[in-house]
């Protein structure tokens, strides 16, 4: 029971920090509303484009490279999800787990080398 309380209190603190982190911008921006001037004019609300009038929507098709990097990120970030518990429990697991993890990482490394050879990692 004691330990459960300690555990719950610690996560309560995390929740408190979340509340504070959200509240500060919300409060500061709502209080700022009382202080700041409001003199709207059409020119102020145009999109900035170095002085010229913006001529079409800016949400255009994007280079596919960004997407490929995102895919690579997902693959290797999931790899770290497996590596973290392995590293924590490494003392108990021993050499067998090391070899297993090595095989797992090498399989992913082959993927990295493939991407490397396909020139995915090059940013043009």
């Amino acid at each position: 029971m004691e330990l459960l309380n300690l555990y719950q209190n610690n996560y309560l603190i995390v929740f408190v920090f979340l509340c504070l982190g959200v509240l500060l911008p919300v409060v500061a921006l709502s209080l700022g509303k009382l202080l700041r001037p409001n003199k709207p004019s059409d020119e102020k609300y145009t999109t900035y484009e170095s002085g010229i009038d913006p001529f079409h929507d800016s949400r255009v098709q994007f280079n596919v490279r960004y997407y490929i990097f995102a895919l690579m990120f997902v693959i290797f970030d999931v790899e770290t999800v497996f590596l973290y518990p392995w590293a924590v429990a490494y003392d108990k697991l021993g050499v067998f787990a090391l070899i297993e993890m090595l095989i797992f990482v090498i399989m992913l490394l082959i993927g990295l080398i493939y991407a490397w050879k396909k020139k995915v990692l090059q940013w043009i």
Binding site: L24, G32, F69, L102
Partner: protein, 334 residues
Amino acid sequence: MVEELLHSSPGIANFGIFFLLGAVLLLIVLGFVTYGILAERKVMGYMQLRHGPNRVGGKWGLLQTVADVLKLLLKEDIIPKAADKPLFILAPVVAFAPSFMVLATIPFTDKFQFADIGVGLLYYIAVSGLTVFGMVLGGWASNNKYALLGGMRAAAQMISYEIPLVMSVLGIILLTGSLNLNDIVEQQENVWFILLQPVAFVVFFIASIAELNRTPFDLPEAENELVAGYHVEYSGFRWAFFMLAEYVYLFAMSALITVIFLGGWLPLFDFLSFIPGAVWFSVKFSAVVFVYIWLRSTLPRFRVDRLMEFGWKVLFPVALANIFLTALIKTLFF
């Protein structure tokens, strides 16, 4: 008193007390940001053979940042017509909230710390990854070409450097067998991890600069290419929250480096242990912040293609090799 509080059953009263204590930390962090910015401008000024701010608040410009913040508070709030209004308002909050949340688990000294959770390090890394949402959201909602490019670059850079960042700390986790930051500090009693894991430290430090979007990795906001990157359209206090998030991260990252590599609040030598832990922590912490400022005024900006290649082709394989080398050495010799 706090011990009793932590062991009592959680409820509204606990929430209130934690809220007040958290608010105190928030004020400390805001104070750090105020004077951190001033220190950055002063240090960079002297490194470039000029004085930096020296008008507002006496010879040292002590009130310069305060005046800047007040100015931002009095600025008109402009949301462009073309922008996606709800997302535009949401983005600074999404960028800022995780930057403060990560501070919950960092042990400043053995007494002054907030949440002592078992997965502290993982929590830090997971939550700090959320800020990139705020940046992409801000860039996309602005409906501005510069902002969108900046937001996309920010996303590409941060996800690419997150992997070496996450992998480099694995060497330390292998040595400690724990993700709890208190355990990690206590295991550095004899020798700091910067000496046991120098490769991890270098990789982590470089990746952390990229995560903080500071020079030489400040491509998302490269002033002379993208004007200001993802926050071009932001003004006044909304812009201030993006900046605040950046400097709170500087605080958090320096604190994390102090904790996991430089022994946290532990003294340099045993005979110096009469100096309180808080002093040790702040000395090491300030040193790390100083190095960040130093690098900013020394190094030019990376080129965007080099940046991505460096992350994937150099830092990532080095970080991976470091993990298995550490594991191998640990199995063979200990």
